[in-house]
């Protein structure tokens, strides 16, 4: 497919090209005082056209992140039943290229393995933000959060245990609706099976 882009680069005699360039920049200067031009993902990239101020006054204003933005991984639990979606299948631990996901599967009183992660830890400091764990998860329980300020004051704070990783599904639905819409069906369908195979009370997040 041929795309023709008008470049306006025909030769202009008498140095007119220089002057026209100056006029273009001057119009950018003047119009930058009258309009702001924030990009909103999902809609057209520059809703305001080419002109206008693009500056986002961080941290008071934040540019909205795309749904599929890969921040750091978080675990999800369902709102109504407060039960975790994770079944400790180790898919994410296997998919992680740097091997920072550490999972210990829970056992019931008999000693049989249950679909519940007794210990779940991620080392945020080494995370590549690649999102392969979220892609690998068949249950839609580990997803990528939209965090930007990930600095912590000490290394210990970067060792994320399960209670710090858990977030309600409603949170994720708000920040990444399109992604959640894609994995919701599978996740919810399998959740019932998972809850059935857990002993009572296991895998429920306290309020």
């Amino acid at each position: 497919m041929t795309i023709v882009v008008p470049r306006h680069d025909e030769f202009q005699p008498f140095g007119w090209g220089l002057v026209k360039g100056l006029l273009v920049t001057a119009s950018h200067l003047v119009r930058s005082y009258f309009r702001r031009n924030l990009r909103i993902p999902g809609k057209e990239p520059f809703p305001g056209g080419r002109f206008g101020l693009f500056t986002v006054k961080y941290p008071e204003e934040r540019a909205p992140l795309p749904d599929r933005y890969r921040g750091l991984p978080i675990l999800l639990y369902e709102d109504s039943t407060q039960s975790e979606l994770c079944t400790a299948c180790m898919s994410c631990a296997r998919a992680c290229p740097v091997g920072i996901i550490h999972i210990e599967q829970g056992v019931d009183e008999v000693g049989k393995k249950i679909p519940y992660a007794q210990g779940f830890a991620i080392e945020y400091g080494t995370c590549l933000n690649c999102g392969l764990c979220a892609d690998a998860c068949p249950f839609g329980s580990i997803v990528m959060d939209h965090v930007l300020e990930t600095a912590r004051a000490s290394r210990d704070e970067l060792w994320m245990t399960k209670e710090r990783l858990l977030h309600p599904v409603s949170y994720y639905r708000e920040i990444a609706p399109t992604v959640w819409a894609e994995i919701r069906e599978e996740a919810m369908k399998r959740l019932d099976g998972t809850v059935k195979r857990r002993p009572a009370g296991v895998g429920v997040v306290p309020k």
Partner: protein, 370 residues
Amino acid sequence: MDLLIQGLNKLLGQVWPDWAVVLLAMVIVITLIFVMAPLTFMLLTWVLRKGIGRFADRMGPNRTGLGRFNKERTRQRWPLWGLLQPIADGVKMFTKEDITPDKGDKWLHRIAPVAAIVPAMLVFAVIPFGKNLLGVDLNVGVVYVVAVSSISTLALLIAGWSSNNKYSLLGAMRTAAQMVSYEVPMALSLVVPVLFAGSLSLNQIVQGQASWLGLRWYIFYFPLGTLAFFTYFISALAEVNHTPFDLPEADSEIVAGYVTEYSGMKFALFFMGEFMNQFLVCAFATVLFLGGWQGPGVQLGGVLGYLFSVFWFFLKTFSLYLVMLWIRGTWPRLRVDQLMNFAWKRLVPITLGNVLVSGVAVIVLSLLKK
């Protein structure tokens, strides 16, 4: 400075001997220059960053300023305008580690920034900032400015050589070649207002442009003065290594050219020298072509006349500086061979022809007047 000497004589004439008054006047003028030059530099860096930002559809620095936090510790509504950013930059440059290359020439490495900034400060002494407000009224002011600014080329060469770095040396050589090449059309286009004014003294040149509505400014002496202004402006852009002639020192081209191995205060001196040179070139162009401090309100006596003259001078100089910024935000740069080509094959013939025609015109006009 003559004004200052007169004023001081009135105050201290009875008590102090003559030479002490002159010495005091000199000390005051020098202190003023030492204070004003860095302040101008700071203002110019602020204008540069905000201006270039706006040309690029973004704000410049807007976090450092004189606002204060509101209760929620956010700076939501205070317009800060980034006015303290130059001070922040200054603090940054002061506190950076000073590195001298080991195998390079240590003494030359230290002297080069000084030799780059001293000529810039020397030129401050002859520019008339207002009615009779200039450090020294040399009657060869124009040539003095050109001569002293040519000393900074030597400083650049030394800087590039003493860094013991291939790219520094290459950048320095290219910069020096460019500056030396563009001095010729610059000096030639300066001959034209000198011909019109009949004097090399800057004060005389400004006073020769006194007119109603600025009609006798030399830029309006069509076509000779206008052409001279444009050739002077272009050559001056090349002299101060400004876009579109900043290949020898552009970041993406040769790291940083001759200042690659400089950090901290030495780099700050080079940076300051460059900005001061840009300001001085604009100031010089206003003095020679745009009527200097002339403008309405200058004829008033007393302090008001002086204030008006200073106001007009700075207005015109800053407008020219804004034009320089505009050019910086718009045009691409020329390659080194293209810029040398442009200097020798295009500008020199144009300026030579301009000088010839201006000379003839001045003689013909003076004959006609008789």
